[in-house]
Every structure is written in structure tokens, then in C-alpha cells.
Symmetry: D2
Subunit: 428 residues, 4 copies
């Protein structure tokens, strides 16, 4: 078990207070277009109600920061189990698929809960001083709590989108998007020589335990596509009967296609012979130039095979991304939908933002991985099976949240996240 990295200790207190306030306010702003009803409903067992996200991110600070302060009085003691997600060391979490049944506390009460915890936490931060280990750990835990809240900001958007997509009236969460589309740049291959490289996080700056330790990996020469595949690229796959040809698919993937009746990405909807797309701004004609989004890992894999290509490994992806600036279309653009690649850039584009990129790598511990100490050991490690790693962040990821070493992970059949695909291939 590890102690928090030194880096966290050094972040200046003042900026932490600001960053805390800003992150919490961002969450509130995401909720502003939603009614109490919108915030209540859980549209499937793997999604959560918005109200739950609001409460759970608050619970996280209450439990792991304030809970260590004997002087702190819990807002309501019964929230300890009610808004626990999965920390068995903390207590018995309320059943996940039944989160949507809890209509009380109301949204308004949850907002009070947020305010209560915010006030208490701000006092803690204002105390200043990082002179002892206990205090350093607290500051690091707040940093973690902010990264955690950012993760839930993205989950919240994906869950809201899924909820509204269940509604036959296709309501909008955000202002309308443009409906005139230009042309996407042609993709090109960028080659990398491989060899014995290093990936994983090290050095200053916050990172999750699953990004560590930095370690050596041997890579054969490979190439990456300059941009993610677009809706137009995907349409060619659909029209070539890609969803009906088992030879393109992993066996388990084709079984899912068959039993779920998949014939296009999630949220593609055919209306009078033309494809539309449900976005957080409602239904609109499919933008052929935007990166394809809401495809599962199974679809990404089959699409790659159909292209006589493959998905990148996470090591290939990170090796290629390490030297790039972390710039791209994130949630702060407020478009909440992927868009056309910029023209005129010779290098790899859209590595960060727009869509999460499926890799071929199973989500597994890095060599010599150690989970965080104590209760937070449960944060990542216990999910390291039957999932695939995704990289780079999306249009729904908060700006500043991801980095080259960042590992997101979902099961291969997941489609409701903002997930796309960048092709890779072997090189000489």
C-alpha cells in the first residue's frame, strides 16, 4: 500500500480553495437545465440518477475528508450507507440498481447537503498548513475528491443523455447544435518505431493509482490513424453490412449484436430513410464529419477488422500521446458532442477530447501496481477484470481532467459513454 505522492503536498492552498469552489460550481451548472424529475430517474441499472451523483460526490468529501475530523457533524448519518457507491470497508452501500427508487431526500435536500459539506470543507482548506503528514494526506484527498467529482460530471452527462434518449419525445438538455457540416480531413497513418518504451505516471501532479507505476513495455513498430473514425467512415461499415457479418466480430460481440438487435451506433435513429443522431441538444441529422460516438468496444473491434486494421494497445496510444499537449474539445466548450477534426494539422489530431478511444488492452494492473492505502484501495483495483481501457477523454470530460497516462475503462459492450475509435496497424 502506498502513501500519497509528494506532489499533492505541494499544491498551494489558495488555488485548492479556488479549484474546489470552481469544480463544485461546475457540477451545479451541469444540473441547471434539469428538473427534479430529470434528476431522480435511473434509466438503467448501470446508470445513476443525477441526484445520486450530486449526493455521492458530496458523500465522498464527507467520508474521506470531513469524516476524519472528530468535530464534524454529519449532515444526516443515514447518508453514510445511502450514498456510498461501492466501498465495502465503509459500510453496506445501498443497492446500485435501486438508486432511482429513493425519492427522499429530495433534490432540494441534496442541495442542502452539498452546501453543508461545502461550507465545512472550505473551512478545512482555509486552515492552511501542510506541515504534517496527516494534513498532507487531507490535501491530497481533497485533490482526489475533485478528480472524483470530475469523473462524475462526465458520468452525469452520459446518464442524462441516456435518460432523455428513452423518452419518445426526444427532449433536449442543451441549446441546438449547428446542422450544416463541412468536410473532415482524410486520415493518414503516423508510424512509430517502438522498442523498449516507458508508460505510466510518475513525477509531480495528481494521478490515479491505476496509472502507476511507470514501467517498461516492449513495442513492435506500429502506426496510428491521424484522426478518429468519423460517422461517414462508419456509415460505409453499416452499408457494407458490417453488423451482419460474424466473421468481422469477436464471437461474444456478435452474440450481443444478435441478441440486442444492434445495427448502428447507440443513438443513431433512422427516420424516413435518413440517419439521425440523438444528442444532448436533441435529435438532428447525422453529422458525417464528426467522430463516430457511442460505439461499444465490440463494434470498434469489428470496424477495425473490416478496415484490415486493429485497435491500438494502450501502451501504443500512451507512447504516441506522451509528447503531445493535452488540448482538445472537452466539456468546457459546452458543445457536449464530438466535432470534425481540425484541418491543416499534419500530426495526430483529436488524441485528447471529442471521443474516448477504445484500445485493445484489457484493464489490468500495471507491473508492481499497488492500490492506494486504506479504504481508497477500493477506488480502482477491484474493477480490473472484463473491461477494456479507453484513452484520451471526450467532449464530456472536464477540461484539465485527463492526461496521457489516464486510463478509463468499460466493459466491451458499453455504448452510453462518449466512445469512439482510432485505428492502428503494424508497421515495419
Amino acid at each position: 500500500m502506498t502513501t500519497p505522492p509528494e506532489s499533492a503536498v505541494q499544491s498551494p492552498i489558495a488555488s485548492k480553495a479556488t479549484r474546489f469552489a470552481r469544480t463544485r460550481a461546475t457540477t451545479m451548472s451541469l444540473v441547471s437545465p434539469l428538473s427534479a424529475e430529470d434528476c431522480q430517474v435511473q434509466s438503467m441499472p448501470t446508470a445513476s440518477p443525477v441526484k445520486w451523483h450530486l449526493a455521492h460526490t458530496t458523500w465522498f468529501f464527507e467520508t474521506f475528508v470531513l469524516g476524519r475530523d472528530p468535530a464534524y457533524r454529519a449532515f444526516r448519518p443515514e447518508f453514510k450507507d445511502l450514498f456510498n457507491s461501492y466501498y465495502v470497508s465503509i459500510g453496506e452501500a445501498w443497492s446500485r440498481p435501486r438508486r432511482g427508487l429513493v425519492t427522499r431526500p429530495s433534490l432540494a435536500e441534496v442541495m442542502e447537503y452539498r452546501a453543508h459539506v461545502d461550507a465545512a470543507l472550505e473551512k478545512h482548506v482555509a486552515l492552511g498548513g501542510v506541515d504534517d503528514e496527516e494534513r498532507a494526506l487531507e490535501m491530497w484527498t481533497i485533490e482526489l475528491g475533485l478528480a472524483h467529482e470530475e469523473q462524475h460530471q462526465e458520468l452525469l452527462l452520459a446518464d442524462v443523455k441516456h435518460l432523455l434518449a428513452q423518452n419518445p419525445l426526444f427532449p433536449a438538455y442543451a441549446p441546438a447544435l449547428p446542422s450544416a457540416f463541412g468536410a473532415a480531413p482524410k486520415p493518414r497513418w503516423h508510424s512509430f518505431a517502438g522498442g523498449l518504451v516507458e508508460i505510466g505516471h510518475s513525477g509531480p501532479g495528481f494521478a490515479f493509482d491505476n496509472e502507476t507505476p511507470r514501467h517498461k513495455v516492449h513495442l513492435e513498430p506500429f502506426a496510428l490513424a491521424s484522426r478518429p473514425a468519423t460517422n461517414e467512415d462508419w456509415l460505409a461499415f453499416v452499408e457494407d453490412k458490417g453488423y451482419a457479418r460474424p466473421e468481422l466480430w469477436l464471437s461474444e460481440g456478435f452474440e450481443v449484436v444478435r441478441t440486442q438487435g444492434w445495427r448502428a451506433p447507440l443513438y443513431w435513429i433512422e427516420r424516413e430513410g435518413r440517419w439521425h443522431e440523438f444528442t444532448l441538444s436533441g435529435l438532428r441529422p447525422l453529422d458525417p464529419t464528426a467522430p463516430v460516438c457511442h460505439v461499444s468496444g465490440f463494434e470498434a473491434d469489428a470496424f477495425a477488422r473490416w478496415n484490415y486494421a486493429r485497435l491500438p494497445t494502450e501502451a501504443e496510444w500512451e507512447h504516441a500521446a506522451q509528447s503531445l499537449p493535452v488540448r482538445g474539445r472537452f466539456a468546457d466548450t459546452r458543445r457536449l458532442h464530438p466535432e470534425r477534426a481540425p484541418a491543416g494539422d499534419d500530426g495526430l489530431v483529436q488524441m485528447f477530447g471529442d471521443v474516448w478511444e477504445w484500445t485493445s488492452s484489457d484493464y489490468a494492473p500495471y507491473p508492481r501496481f499497488r492500490p492506494w492505502a486504506g479504504d481508497l484501495a477500493e477506488y480502482n483495483g477491484k474493477f480490473m477484470c472484463n473491461q477494456r481501457v479507453l484513452r484520451g477523454g471526450s467532449c464530456a470530460t472536464p477540461s484539465g481532467h485527463v492526461r496521457a497516462s489516464y486510463r478509463n475503462f468499460f466493459a466491451l459492450d458499453t455504448r452510453w459513454q462518449f466512445t469512439g475509435v482510432r485505428l492502428a496497424r503494424d508497421a515495419q
Copy 2:
């Protein structure tokens, strides 16, 4: 197919307007203790969100009354399918188990929908005149719409109770109930000679099609218990291991007991060795004197067998009830929970109100039954299989809604309605 009974034609217009306003207002009053979140959630596939009840009862008037008026403009045309329950002749109803996913329209919009339809309907009623068949049919349909709304008032209460019972904090919908309990009168047997009797509705006054036609039935001599079984009676069954003795149960019933893990009525909760009961007023110690409530037909049947008795047939029940006044504890008492039988009454008590009484009769068409004409043929007839008849109304039934010939019906494993049991036996 039948035309509406003459009776409906004769109900005075003025009282219809009043009754309409009062019934609609009652529904609104039932909703007043609930938040938008409470009104949104569907706690199981066979329950409906309160918001849906509010909209569907409105849809019923809009579709079957206003919809026949070419001058009427629908509030929102897309509600035609969205709030249809099961009328395939009207259109394709929105999937029942997915009602809770529709967060938009909001509760506020549904309230506007109610107001819009109320205003239009009041104008129709005020027009007066029952001078033609078309107009008479309209008046009858309004009467039906009110009876329909009353049915949904009770369903709404059962659904809210089920929803709140899913919440680990056991919130209350209604003010606290008393927690001091007296003693219930001892039950006695009342005998009936039987012979060729008549049951079913005839004559003036509204009735559902499933109560008709009045017809002859031959009954052997029988006896009914003077009052429904109480919680105390049921406790003896529980303590005699009634839930663990397959020989007491229908085979299918015991399979449900086993797979669902039933060991007491729904909403009985053991806390530190004592039985409590979840009520619409929250959790409280079990009242031993009140009629047992929230038992399935399977449990009622096993309990009767354990008592060396049986459930009454619906013909026996109706024959016994025909001569009694329709008086009892209905929803207008605002207790919303069954209570102890009155002392000092020599006859059958609590035949009406308190708890619906399971009969041994399958829900089947009466001889020469004809469903209503047109779209309303779907109201009752298509549900006549795999359900049992219940009689007498409950503490959640609107006062004035039931009568001796009234037939309620649910599957044998249903427990979330306000259902209890009155014993019967053969007599000489």
C-alpha cells in the same frame, strides 16, 4: 356490443358538473403531500408513476369524451400514445414498464394538461341537454371517466406506498396513526341457505360491464366469518410455521413463497424481534386488532386452509352483501389503513371498506357477458384470465365507488394492493 344503460342518461347535469369537479379535486389532494420526484418514479413494472396516473386519467376524458368533438384541440398530440394505457384500438401505447423513464413532460406540465382538459370538459358538461343518443353517450362516458379516475386514485395510493416502502429511510406520506390498540371482536359464523340466487348488476346506477348481466347461480348452504381476519389471527399462522408448510398451499403458491422468500405479509418488518408494519404514515408497531392487509391470494388461500376453512366464492360474497348498506372505512377517512372492526354489531361487519377480500373465484365473464361497444370493449374483458376476484373495497377506495356487485381483480401473487381475507365454510 351494448349501448350505455339508460340510467346514465338520467343523472342530472348539475350534479355531474359538481361530481366531476370534486373527483378531479380529490385526485389533486392525494398528490399534495408528494414532491415532483415522488410523482416520477415507477417502483416496479406493475406499478405506475403518480404523474402517469395524473396524466392518464386526463387522457381518458380527452380521448373518449373530448376526442369526439371536432372542435376540441388536443393539449399535445403526442400524449395520445404516451398516456394510453392499453387500448390497442386507440394506438400504440407507450411501454408500460418504461412509464417511469418519461421525465418530460414534467409534473407541472401534466398539471397544465389537467387544467386544460378540465376546462374543456366543464364546458361540455355545462352545455346541458341529454336529448339525443350522442349526448347521452357522452354523459355516460363522463360517468365512466369518473369511476375510472376513482380506480386510479386507489392505485395511486398503493403505488405510492410501494414506492416509499422501497426507501430504506421509510418516509411517511400521511400524518401519524395512533399506536395504542384495543381488542378486536371475536369472529362468528353467519350462515346462508343458498339455493338458486341472483348476482350481478341490473337497474339504474353506473356499473362496469364486468358486473353484468345479472344472472342465476346455484349455491349450497354456506357461512361467512363476521369480520375479516386480523393481524393477530395472521400472527398465529406465521408462528405455526404457516409459510413453511407446503401442504397448506396451492403448489404454485408455495413455489412463489420459496422463490420470493415470503415469510409474512408484504410490509411486515421485523425489528429487534417485534413485528412492525409499513403504512402510508411510516413504520409503526403492528396493530394486532386491524384486518390483515397486503396478503396475496395465495396467502389468503393457505391461511384459510390452515383454519380448516376456505375463501368465499364471489357469488356467496355478493349474495351476502346484497342486503347490506355500502358503508365502511373508505379513503375519505384519510386514515389509509385498515382498522379494528366495530364492536357490538351482531351482523357481518367490514364487508365494505378496510380491505379488499379475496374470493376463490377466478375472474371470468358472467354468462352472456357483452363488453361495452367500441374502444371501451378493452376496458375489462381482455383481462379475464389468471386473476381472482376481490370484493368490497378498502381503506384506499374512494367512498361511493364500490357496490355489492363490484368486481376487483388481481393475480394470485399480488400483494401491494390493500387486500385481506374473510373466511367462509360449507354449512348444512
Copy 3:
């Protein structure tokens, strides 16, 4: 609880021995076209392996007759639970859906088991004497055991048919049937005046407890079709899109149609635009003149509604059948498939044999019904819910097994039994 009816006491011993030998031999002859593999497999949870039928019918005699004799030594004590069907008073029966997993004992061992029990039972029968109550009960129990074995003979045929129908090669159990078809007589209506009639078994002769007691029922005037509906009749229903019109169906029935994808009776198979039928003699072109077979109660009900008719109640059916001889095509014809109605008969034809006829009556206890005493109370009574009564026997029923008062029963969605439909309607 009742003692066995006097009638059983009076059946002459000699004929009992003969009847026992003949019935047991008939079972063996039914198995002769089957391999050990055919006898092993359980094709669905509600079917049983043939080997199980062979063992269970033997177990019945061993348990209820020989088991009362202290001198009898069980063939293998572990069969007591292994071949118990559902008698909880006897012990814990082996899980029904897992019967097909028991490959040992082998078919050969089960045959030895049969021989062992046959020998012991023949000795018991040969003892003669019915002079005391104990002995009379034993003779009656043997009679019951034979009726029980006959029931399993029919179940065995239905289960074998279902098993072979799962095989993509469509193998045959019996010799080929003719494939030239004549014409079925036109159906006519036969009217009955109704009134206060009596149904149910009384008097000498074996009957199941569920056929008793004889009791009064009041019937309105009604009419029955002279013959069951034919495949040709049903084809008209199919071609009129009967399976796609929800207004013809019980709501629950149409849900089954939709989720199961029903579009014709079970075992109808379309090949190159023509309907075929899987029979125990393999696949052959559909015989338009034969009674339609392997339809569920839901289908029967919808078909009747499409005909502006209804299904008979069981009381109507029995009242009409009481005066008819119990003659018809039973399993002893060895055709094991229903056939065209005889021409030139003015009355009701095919009331017995060919196909079981669905009634509209739920399977319920008759007034004052008492199950048999002791362990055998479980024979019938505990299944009296969520099933419908069928009458008259089929081409797979042993000759001599049924009578006018005989009640068969299955759930409304059952199709693998030899079930058809005779229409009824109200009369003046």
C-alpha cells in the same frame, strides 16, 4: 377427507390382475420404438424424460401400495425421493427441471425396477379378498395407480413428440400416416335448453377426486358445434391475420403471441410456402380435414372470438356429453394423430378422443370438494389455480381412461398436449 368410494371395493380381483398386467404392458409397448437416448432427455422443464415416466409410475405403486406392506423390500431406497413427482408428504422430490440430468439408473435398471414392482404387486393382487377396509383401500389404490399410469402414457407421448420436434432432422416415432385427405363434414350448431342441471361424478366406477361431488349448476340456453374446428378452419384464421390482431386476444395471450413469436399452432411448419405438420410419424403436409391440434387455450379463445363464438364452459360440455357413449379415436388406434370427423352422423361427433377440448372454465374445486385422504390429497387439489379445464380425451389418451365427468387441466399457454377446440355460443 374421504374414504375411497364403495365402487372400487366391488371390482373383481381377477379382472384387476388382468387390467394391471395389460396397462403395464401397454406402457412398455409405447417405449419400444425408443432408444435409451430418446428415453433420457427432457426437452423442456415442463416435460419429463420417458425413463422418468417409467420409473415414476412404478414408484407410485411401490409407494402407495407396496409401501404399506412391512414385508416389502424397496428395490432401491434412494428411488423414494428420486422418482417422487410432487408429494411433499412423502419426502423431498428431486428437482423437476433436472429430471433429465439423471443418467443413472440407466433405462435397463429402470426396467428391472418395473419388473421388481410388477412381481410384488401381482402377488398382492393375487391374494384376493376385499373383506376389510384396509384391503379395500389397497384395491382402490391399485385402480388409482392404473389410472395414474394411463395419464402418464399420454404425457409420455406428448413429451416424446416434443423431444423429437426439437431435432432438426424431424425423426419419426411411429409408422407413416396417410397423406391423402378427403373432406370434413360441415359443422352445425346443436342447442341445449340449459336450466338447473347436474354435473360431476357419482355412482360406481373409478373417478378422480376433482370430478366430485356431483352438484347443481344453472345453465343458460347454449349451443355447441357438432365437431371440433379443423386445420382448414384454423388456416382461415391464420390467413385473416388472426395472430396479429390484438383485439381478438386476451391481453396476456397476445403478450405470449408477441414474445414467443407464435404465428400458427405448435408443430405447424412452413416449407416452401406450404404448411406441414410435425406428427409422431414425422413431418407431413397439413391435413386440412383433421381437427386442429396443439393449440393453446389463448389461441382457442382468440379463434372463438374471431368466429363470433366462444369456448364452452365445462358444465355445458359435460351436460352435453353425459348422454353420449364414450367412443372415439383413442391411443389404441395407434394413429396418435387426430383425424377427420366421421360423415353422416347428425349429432355431436368427436366429443371423445381425437383432441382435448379447451373450455372457458378455470380449474377450480367443485362446491364441497374434498381431496382424497392422506398423502393422495396432493394428487389434484393443490393445482387448482391458473389453469383451464379440458374435456373429452385425445388420440393419445388410452381407451377407457376418460368419461363425461373427466377433467383435464393445463395453463392457458400450453401447446404440447393434444389440444383442440370446439366452439360454443349462447342460444335462446
Copy 4:
């Protein structure tokens, strides 16, 4: 896509004929203790009937070898789909979970099918000559067919064991095993320096495509336990409540524990307070000294964590195994159950045979992996997701079948294979 490796071309014809005859005879000998019933039943969807294994291995030779010979006449053309496992390029395989329903062809007919194909294949082999590419491919395909048949020999044993374990009488397939147990040697750690190593198959000798190509992997220093964990080791885990402590488990693994009610390895059975084990020789007291067997990957992972250790990666395992002779207890010992490690051996023992060893490696394509060409591309590649690699073979694996580079793979919740666990840990 690749052509067959040159190695296959060089295997001498004579030995191929012998090896073919011997492998096919071994399969027959495995079936000899089984009845036709035993060979018919499919005890769960992921198991197959023995009869199916017999037919499918034959189908493999018929399809991929004889099917290329225009002169060959298929035994029965309808077997092409019936005994196809999962090759969509060949045709539509008969539904996997319904394999057990096919009682015809009988076992005897399948034996004829085997003889027919054996005779035809022996003729092909005898033709001699590997002088052209076509012929070389054929010889290689026969080699593959033999490796394929060996895989099914092990599956057959695991499936038979599972089937017999469903039988409440616990019948035996093989002669009794000893029931006196000595003591297992203490485990020690063996360290490896790691660095840039190579794994994967290359050079002469048959290997599956998934073992190729040989490639570089970077390993940190690590250590392996000298022997697999024993039942005694596992008992300590059980007694320390290992199955009730979620912190030891992958989250998904603990969910399986909870929903499946796991509390010990599959086939451990508690009788009167003592643990027994179901073996192919029937039920016997648990051998504390034998390697634990029939544990899932989830259990292996939790057990390792409880030991403050981890599972080896497949690269670690292969690196350690590369220098060892492929010796161990395989199926030719006829014990069909793992046994105590040999004493007095200083090195790694039982790396081959006894039990398959779970690794922490997801089953994924090696860098630059190419599936075999044509139809056989489906052999391995399409299963490369949501499975873990196992190494080393078991007591049910045919001798000669595995090698250091051999990759077996199953989902993490699989328990019916002969699977155990060897611990690993990081080293300096």
C-alpha cells in the same frame, strides 16, 4: 493470414497414421465406461454431450480434410450443420445449448460415423507424399485435427464429471482412488530476474496460432511458488472466511460468489461436518495434500490476495517453464484427479499436468498475431475477450498435448475444468 508452418510438412507419414489411430482409439476408450444415456445429456449450456464430442471431432476431419476431396461422400450430409461447433464460414451451426436434445442419430450411429470417417482418413494418410503444398496442408490439418481431438478428450472428461455431479446418487466413472493421504512438501519461492525475454512458439513442432508469433516481453523480477496450492492451503482460506470477505475479491468476482452462493471449490461437499470431494471416481474425503482443483479465476485471484501474493502473468509462467521438461501427471495415468506434489525435488514441480494454472493475463492476441488462413481463422482468434489464460495442462489433459507456450483460456467464473492455482509475487 498465414500458411501452415513448415514443421508440419516434415512429420513422417508413418507415425501420423499411428498417431491418428491411437488418438481416435483413446477417445473411444474414454467413452467405454459410459452408457448411451450418459453420452446423451448436456448438463449445462456450456457443456456438451459426450456423443456430440464424438461426432464433432469426427466432423472436424470430415470437413477440413475429407471435405476437400471431391471423391469423398459424406456419411450424412445433414451432419454438416448438426455437428459444426461455431464455424460460421462453414454454415449455420446447430444451437449450442440445444445439443443435448438431439437423440437421433443415436450413439451407435455416431460410432458408425466415426468408423466411416476413420476409414476414409486412413486411406488419405496412407497415400503418402508431401510433395506439394496442397498435400502438406492436408497433413498439417490432420495434425491439427488430432490436437483438436485431444482438446475434446479433456472437455469430455470435464463434461462427464459435471454431468455425474448433478446426480444425487454421485455415480463413479472410474475405479476408486486411494483414500489414505500423506503430506505435501512445503512450498518455496523460486526467483527469476526478468528483463527483456521472449515467449511464444517458434520453430518445428505443431502449435496453435494463438501461441504465435514468438515475441519480446519485458518482465520485472518475480518469484513463483514451487508447487500449486493444495486443498489444505485452500481450507485455511475457507476457514478464514475467505468467501465472505469482499475486500479480497474483484468486485465482479464477489458478486458471483454472492449470487451463486459459492463457499468452497466446485465439487467440495460437506457431509456431517467433513469436507468431501466429488471425483470421477465418486465421492471421497477431501485429500488435503492434492492441488486444489475446480476453482474459478475469481477464487484463484482472491486466494492469492489473501496470501499477500498474486497470480503469475502468462509471460512469467512461460518464461519459467521454457527450460523445464514437459513431464507431469496427465490423463494417461488414468487417475483423472490431481495428486500430491513429489517430495525431494528442489525446483518448480507440477508445472505441467495435475491442474491448469490460472494466470492474471487476459486472453489476447500476441503482437502481430495472425489467425490461420481460411475457415480455420475462427479456431481461436474470435474468442480473445473476457477470458483469462491458463497454463500447463492437467490430470485430464492427454499426455503430449501441451507445451510451455500452450495457452488455454476460460472466463473468470469457470469452475468445471481441472483448474488450480500457483502463487507468484514480485521480487527484487
